[in-house]
């Protein structure tokens, strides 16, 4: 078989996967990058060291590429390891920032706050969380089971027990609800 035939008979392969589900962790210096990579790999996260795009380059010229959706879990692990990043950004949208708009709905006896795709509802008289809805990551049903039935002031923060960006968004809604109920 000639060289051209071998080329022609090469099996079709899938196009490279989009990097939309990847994020970049930005650090002050190279030693922090190495420490973070080591901690995340030891915890089983599929991460790698890459060069960040020029528009987000701060501190050092290396960054850690990580699974974006698992950002809440990863940021908590790095904070606990003493290696928090300067920033965590999506690969395909390095200038995008987390949601900061809250939608609030008053049901009379109940108040609902939505952040991005996550909603939390509280009974006004007691401060008890009566429902959690929205979201698409698998920690949402887990978080709902952990939160529903507890008062806002005794419930664990979704930012502390969640794992994904949906958990992070629920954490923002939870904190906004705490702020409104404390007024």
């Amino acid at each position: 078989m000639g060289f051209l035939d071998r080329l022609r008979k090469k099996a079709p392969s899938a196009p490279p996967a989009s990097k939309a589900d990847r994020g970049l962790l930005i650090f002050e210096n190279t030693s922090e990058v190495i420490r973070a990579e080591k901690a995340l790999k030891a915890a089983g996260f599929p991460v790698k060291v890459v060069g960040p795009p020029p528009e987000v380059r701060r501190g050092c010229d290396l960054a850690v590429e990580y699974p974006l959706i698992e950002g809440l879990n990863i940021l908590r692990l790095l904070a606990d390891s003493g290696a928090p990043p300067l920033d965590a950004i999506p690969v395909t949208g390095p200038l995008l920032t987390p949601v900061d708009l809250y939608h609030v709905k008053d049901f009379g006896d109940y108040l609902m706050v939505r952040a991005a795709n996550m909603k939390i509802t509280v009974e006004k008289a007691t401060g008890v969380i009566v429902n959690v809805s929205g979201g698409g990551c698998p920690d949402v049903p887990y978080l709902a089971a952990r939160l529903i039935g507890l008062r806002l002031d005794e419930a664990p923060s979704p930012r502390e027990i969640g794992h994904t960006l949906c958990g992070y968004a629920l954490g923002l809604a939870f904190e906004e609800m705490q702020r409104r109920c404390s007024q």
Partner: protein, 288 residues
């Protein structure tokens, strides 16, 4: 046969598959009892109820435990890639799974090897992955809520958490966001947008709106979107056109809520119990 694919928040549960059954004791899959209280079990419970009314076999379930760390989702993805090409399934409803573009693409390749190719419904995390992968148009139906529609409409956002404020803003009308989602090829062939008014749309624009009966408490309840997706999946499996199925499902979900008379503190199992009666009413309306 309709298959429902998703997770439950018990990390100890291995990949499990089998026909689902909804009885007085609750939901069961492969002799495993599961509370249909939210998420994929709620979708599955609604699909069971609707299949019963439509005279269809009970839906088949592919489930795994995952509390958000992703290990279970990846095990299930691996299993689907292995088994789907040899299965005869006519409708697939993908639900709560950790969004992962690489595994999404592998599963879609496996689906493309199925003969005949099933109709594809994506909601929750798998819908996010479908959009992120740039392959939203491979799907027959997405079922986003308002926040998720804004995410689909934002061609830059990799997750609803990063939807830009000018798109997420209340002032944006649903038809404009639908148009923007289609302009970016970030929507399935049909969209069922859940909200105070439900919108059924395709690339040409809004086809139907459903706004009655209106039980405001549904917006706060966890699982009302899941029951809607389960009901539309059963209606699609019955052979109906996707947009007609979406319209009937939206009406059914609202009738079920009216029958259940929920408060914002109600549980979704109260709605699921009313789906058989509600779907029977909705189908009778269609026949008139």
């Amino acid at each position: 046969m309709l298959a429902v694919i998703g997770t439950i928040p018990d990390p100890a549960m291995p990949v499990t598959e089998g026909p689902a059954a909804l009885g007085r004791g609750g939901l069961s899959v492969a002799e495993l009892e599961i509370a249909p209280d939210r998420g994929t079990p709620a979708l599955l419970g609604a699909a069971c109820a609707a299949c019963g009314v439509l005279g269809l076999p009970a839906p088949f379930a592919f489930l795994v435990g995952d509390e958000g760390r992703g290990h279970g989702s990846r095990e299930l993805y691996r299993h689907l890639v292995d088994v789907l090409p040899r299965r005869s399934l006519s409708t697939l409803a993908f639900h709560y799974l950790l969004p992962d573009v690489m595994w999404h693409d592998k599963v879609l390749f496996a689906v493309n090897e199925m003969h005949p190719r099933p109709r594809l419904i994506a909601d929750a995390g798998f819908m996010y992955a479908a959009k992120m992968s740039g392959q939203a148009t491979a799907y027959d139906l997405f079922t986003p809520d308002a926040g998720e529609l804004a995410f689909l409409a934002d061609e830059q956002a990799p997750h609803p958490f990063y939807t830009r404020g000018f798109i997420l803003h209340d002032g944006n009308r649903v038809p404009d966001l639908i148009r923007r989602a289609y302009d970016g090829d970030n929507a399935a062939a049909c969209l069922l947008v859940k909200g105070s008014t439900d919108h059924v749309a395709d690339r040409t624009g809004v086809l139907f709106t459903v706004d009655s009966p209106n039980e405001a408490a549904m917006e706060a309840m966890g699982g009302t979107g899941d029951t809607l997706t389960g009901t539309v999946a059963a209606l699609i499996e019955s052979g109906r056109d996707v947009s007609d199925a979406a319209r009937i499902a939206a009406r059914t979900n609202r009738l079920a809520a009216k029958l259940a008379q929920p408060t914002p503190a109600s549980r979704i199992s109260e709605i699921i119990a009313c789906i058989p009666q509600a779907l029977t009413l909705a189908l009778a309306e269609e026949a008139q």
